[in-house]
Amino acid sequence: MSDSRARAKDVSRGAKSSRSPLAEQATSYFGHHRKVAADSARRLWQSPVASIMTWTVMGVALALPVALMLLLTSLQGVSAGWESSARVTAYLEQDVSLGQAEALKQKVSEDSRVAEVELIDRDAALADFRASSGLEDALDYLNDNPLPHTLLVTPGDGSRTADGIQTLLAVVEGLDGVEQVQVDLGWLQRLNAMTELLERAVWALAILLSAAVVLVIGNTVRLSIENRRDEILVAKLVGGTDGFVRRPFLYTGAFFGLGGGVVAWILLQMSLWWLSGPVERLAGLYRSDFSLSGLTFDGVLALIIVAMLLGWLGAWVAVKRHLDDIEPGEIAGG
């Protein structure tokens, strides 16, 4: 018994003396990370065609959803602009006098949800109509002015949403002397519904393409695991931990992600540059200030980080599935 204890002690002492001090161990750990990262990068560089193909596949897969998201952001900018210009038009009853109309205008403008109220009196409206419609002769046949006084209500900042305008509409409609209220909300709601649908479609696409990226990287890393099978066996044989053996492949995955993110960014900038002219011309025809916006610096950074994470994840899947299966038992022979 004492003998065995003495031996156990002997081995544990041996284990301790072979371990370097903590600080030195940390230095060596990070040194190893640096070495493995550099080595993984060099390996990618040594097979440039294969690496560029993987980067391009990843770049295309990432550029597509990001491009759609950018388009979506631009569209939301448009609908926000139009929402802010939406105004409620209240037609007053025919027998409301100008004085009563002034009082109503006063009342509506006291509402906190209202930014501005403009009164168009019926005579001015008729004159305007006469001037712009070209129906002067026809209008001369009318005995009375058929137009009512009109209030143009501009909603305040807090009410410039589809819901806010709807509420304001109900309030104005409930006032005495208001016959009819109009706001062109239909197209706004349709645009909102469309962008919402598009948003979900883009997210679904982004998730599918991310999964594709993970699988592509997983497969590429699987091949590189196969190529380095002997090295993995020996590393495990001489006491390499799972982390040690996995590390180069995880770096490889992250570097695939880095390259893929950069390619995606280049593709996006190129398409933006190629499309911006026609888009501006088209928007000009619609008298809109719509323009395609590119990625901001933060956006580029986020794109590349997400790409690296996806690459790392793909490598991790491959490593988990294939590396842990490689056990040195098979080289010892029968």
Partner: protein, 230 residues
């Protein structure tokens, strides 16, 4: 240092690779493991390396019972065991130096110590001048010595060898054996699996003989060792 107590290894229900094997090896002891092919030599070595787990019984290396060892502890056990293979398992995509450095790299030894220790190991096997060569450029005997340098570079207390002289002529085999004898003299426990009977006879060391999974000779000191523990 190595202790087998009633170790049985069954692969399938009908194939028993090892049956109730008992033996013990002390620190600094050099022993041969012999038997026909298929007698269980490789299985026994794999049990020490924790490449396999016993179906019954206990395997103890350096005071640690390996049966209950969690998977993630296995690499740390392997760092205390050097292994030499018949086909030496060298990597041909790197130099002799980097082949020998691998055990130190996985342990996280600082770079400046790696150079010193790798050269010491290569010097020991007489290959210091070839550190920058690719193992492919070396002869069979030299490759085997590179494998030995890699197995001992981190000074493990246990050294296992599986047919280390299988492809070598008698002179080279004798050289390799004297290397192993030197290691045992400095306290390394050495176990060499071989069926080179001539070689075993010239050295006259303890010999464990396996026959169809049973230890038929050489096991007695281990049994004695076990009775000392009880």
């Amino acid at each position: 240092m190595i202790e087998f107590r009633q170790v049985t290894k069954r692969y399938d229900s009908d194939h028993t690779a090892l049956a109730q094997v008992n033996f013990g090896l002390d620190r600094g002891e050099l022993a041969f493991l012999t038997g026909h092919s298929g007698a269980g030599k490789s299985t026994l070595l794999k049990l020490i390396m924790v490449m396999e787990r016993p179906s019954a019984g206990e395997v103890e290396v350096g005071g640690q019972v390996l049966n209950r060892l969690p998977r993630r502890q296995i690499p740390y056990i392997r760092r205390h065991i050097g292994v030499v293979f018949q086909n030496h398992q060298l990597l041909f995509d790197r130099t002799v130096f980097h082949n020998v450095a691998m055990p130190l790299e996985v342990m996280g030894v600082p770079a400046r110590d790696i150079g010193r220790r790798v050269r010491a190991a290569l010097d020991k096997v007489g290959l210091l001048s070839k550190e920058k060569m690719n193992p492919m450029q070396l002869s069979g005997g030299e490759q085997q010595r590179v494998g030995i340098a890699r197995a001992v570079v981190n000074k493990p207390p246990v050294l296992l060898a599986d047919e280390p002289t299988g492809n070598l002529d008698p002179q080279l085999s004798a050289d390799i054996m004297s290397l192993f004898a030197e290691f045992s003299q400095v306290g390394v426990t050495v176990l060499i699996a071989t069926h080179d009977v001539a070689l075993i006879n010239t050295l006259g060391r303890r010999t464990l003989t396996l026959d169809q999974g049973r230890l038929v000779a050489g096991g007695s000191p281990g049994i004695g060792g076990e009775s000392r523990h009880v």
